[in-house]
């Protein structure tokens, strides 16, 4: 799970994390007691549809502004360690 979330956990973090998560999961598992057959899921509380955007251009950010926040960049773009082949 930690790998899926790309989250390294220190050795000292693993045990408390597991304990706390299982306590929370036990609590939230109470919803399994409910009869929810034929109840539709809610993804949005207010039923809005549409809300589309016209295909009109808006200004882009200047590149120097974009790259100014990067931990590592050259003049043209962001730099990262290459993904393993």
């Amino acid at each position: 799970m930690a790998a899926l979330a790309r989250l390294a956990l220190g050795e000292e973090e693993v045990e408390p994390m597991a304990r706390e998560l299982s306590a929370v999961l036990d609590h939230v598992a109470r919803i399994s007691e409910l009869d929810l057959e034929n109840v539709p899921p809610t993804s949005h509380v207010v039923e809005v549809t549409g809300a589309l955007r016209a295909d009109e251009p808006t200004p882009c950010l200047p590149r120097e502004v974009v790259l100014s926040q990067a931990p590592l960049a050259n003049d043209e773009g962001f730099l990262v360690p290459s993904p393993q082949a």
Binding site: H44, L52, E56, V66, G77, V80
Partner: protein
């Protein structure tokens, strides 16, 4: 032991023939002005990272808003493929980490896509959905390594470009069938105007799902997904190579593993894309930042109104309205650029007016044959009106076919744009059936006594050498039919 069938499928050691089962997943870049979820203009080779904003960079707090035009183009694709259009479709998040994916998830459609079902030719469509493209990750090599690791460069210009993903049912059986069908899809999409559909530039991308099964079986074998086939040729070669690979595994008693594969066109080899730590679990869930896309009557009507004619419909119309033969109508309909040229020539109201079938023959035959392979005749120097006039002159026998071909050569070279002017300037006009031609025919008959004798004896084919001489003498200006009539008249045959 294996005997390769035309489809490249082998007979697996006496257990009965295997057949390939192929489905395609096609990504099409939609021809919008701006990105799928933000107002950045689409990038066509701009300097890296100059077409970005908080949304397509995945900056904290930014939110996506779907592009109405992308939905519109998606609907047009659905209409063209005869899909069922969902009155309500939703976007999901597909979660995974990669440097070209700024938010850590791709916004795509999952179990409630815009279009379901449909067909094109003899291939059924499974679904069509909308999504955003990833950015570009460029391997920069070992120069400037980061902590001992090679460095890559990320350019977010392409990130967020709208895509339609078209997924077929596994209805294809052979590599060449797959590439032929893909060409049909490309023509259809180009005609719709929804995309540039250029494989080399990546606006049309194709993955293939491939499995083998005993011929006659209804169940599907284990499939692999083959990626990165960026030309029609590579699609055929890639699929053929993967079929061969699977055959070999099965023939050796092994089992095909379900995985994603990469085709390397340079070496023709296939490699697995799966890396050890990638146990993919995309954790799809409904995108809470976007509301459902509801398709109302207005949107449907707008999509219908924007539909240009599809190839099959065009072929039918060309037959019905202009009396073209089935073959000609299909050539012009499926090669959009020829059809467009033809219709422009018809619409040019040239004097004299050409017969439609003759015009079609000249375009698909003489004109295309004289142009460099693949050139759109609209880009040549031959104006549709000029060709129409030339074909009209041929029909009225004011120029012979042979002379007309010379005129066409001049038009292509740019040596004029008026067929009649070229004909007059070069003296290529058809000789009428008057005394001048009769004298030349008489001279030719006299010079070819053997041939003349055989024609007189009823051997019609023997006329060739006499006609040839007349044509040489007249530089092709004489009308062949008229020459033949005169020869027979003079020989009393």
């Amino acid at each position: 032991m294996s005997d390769h069938k035309p489809g490249g499928v082998a007979d697996a050691g006496g257990d009965g023939e295997l057949e390939a089962v192929i489905g395609l997943e096609i990504h099409v870049q939609l021809a919008t002005r701006t990105k799928m979820f933000c107002g950045c203009e689409l990038s066509f080779g701009e300097p890296p990272n100059t077409r970005t904003c908080p949304v397509c960079l995945g900056l904290p707090g930014s939110l996506p808003v779907a592009n109405a035009r992308a939905v519109h183009l998606g609907l047009m694709i659905g209409l063209a493929l005869g899909s069922e259009l969902a009155p309500r479709s939703i976007f999901h998040r597909k979660n995974y980490f990669y440097p070209d994916l700024p938010k850590g998830y791709q916004i795509t459609q999952y179990d409630e896509p815009l279009c379901r079902g449909g067909e094109l030719g003899d291939v059924r469509i499974h679904r069509v959905h909308l999504e955003e493209d990833a950015a570009k990750l460029i391997h920069a090599g070992a120069s400037g390594r980061i902590h001992g690791s090679d460095t890559s460069f990320v350019d977010f210009n392409r990130g967020g470009t709208p895509l339609a993903e078209i997924v077929t049912e596994p209805d294809l059986r052979a590599p060449e069938q797959a590439s032929e069908w893909l060409k049909l899809l490309r023509t259809t999409l180009r005609q719709l105007g929804v995309s540039d559909v250029n494989m080399e530039e990546g606006s049309l991308r194709c993955d293939a799902n491939i499995s083998l099964r005993p011929r006659g079986s209804e169940t599907l074998g284990v499939k692999t997904e083959l990626k990165n086939m960026n030309s029609f040729r590579f699609i055929e070669r890639g699929i053929r190579a993967e079929i061969a690979r699977q055959e070999e595994i099965l023939a050796g008693g092994g089992q095909v593993v379900q995985e994603t594969l990469h085709f390397d066109p340079a070496s023709g080899s296939i490699t697995s894309l799966r890396s050890k730590e990638e146990a993919h679990d995309y954790r799809y869930f409904p995108e809470p930042d976007l509301v459902p896309v509801a398709i109302d009557d207005g949107m449907l009507a707008a999509a219908r109104a924007d539909m240009s004619e599809l190839p099959a419909d065009r072929a039918e119309r060309l037959q019905r309205e202009l009396g073209l033969s089935v073959d000609s109508a299909q050539v012009l309909a499926f090669r959009t650029e020829l059809g467009d040229y033809f219709e422009a020539a018809v619409a040019a109201r040239a004097e004299p007016a050409p017969p439609a079938q003759g015009l079609a023959n000249w375009i698909a035959g003489d004109l295309v044959g004289r142009l460099p392979e693949g050139q759109d005749p609209s880009d040549s120097r031959v104006e549709p009106r000029a060709l129409a006039a030339l074909v009209g002159l041929v029909a009225e026998r004011r120029v012979s076919v042979g002379a007309a071909r010379q005129v066409l050569d001049r038009l292509i070279e740019g040596g004029g744009s008026e067929p009649l002017a070229i004909i007059e300037a070069e003296g290529l006009g058809a000789m009428d059936g008057g005394s001048e031609l009769a004298e030349i025919v008489a001279a030719a008959v006299a010079a070819n006594t053997d041939a003349a004798e055989r024609v007189r004896e009823g051997n019609a084919k023997a006329i060739g050498p006499i006609v040839g001489q007349v044509m040489r003498e007249t530089k092709g200006r004489a009308d062949g039919t008229e020459v033949a009539r005169l020869i027979h008249e003079q020989l009393g045959a």
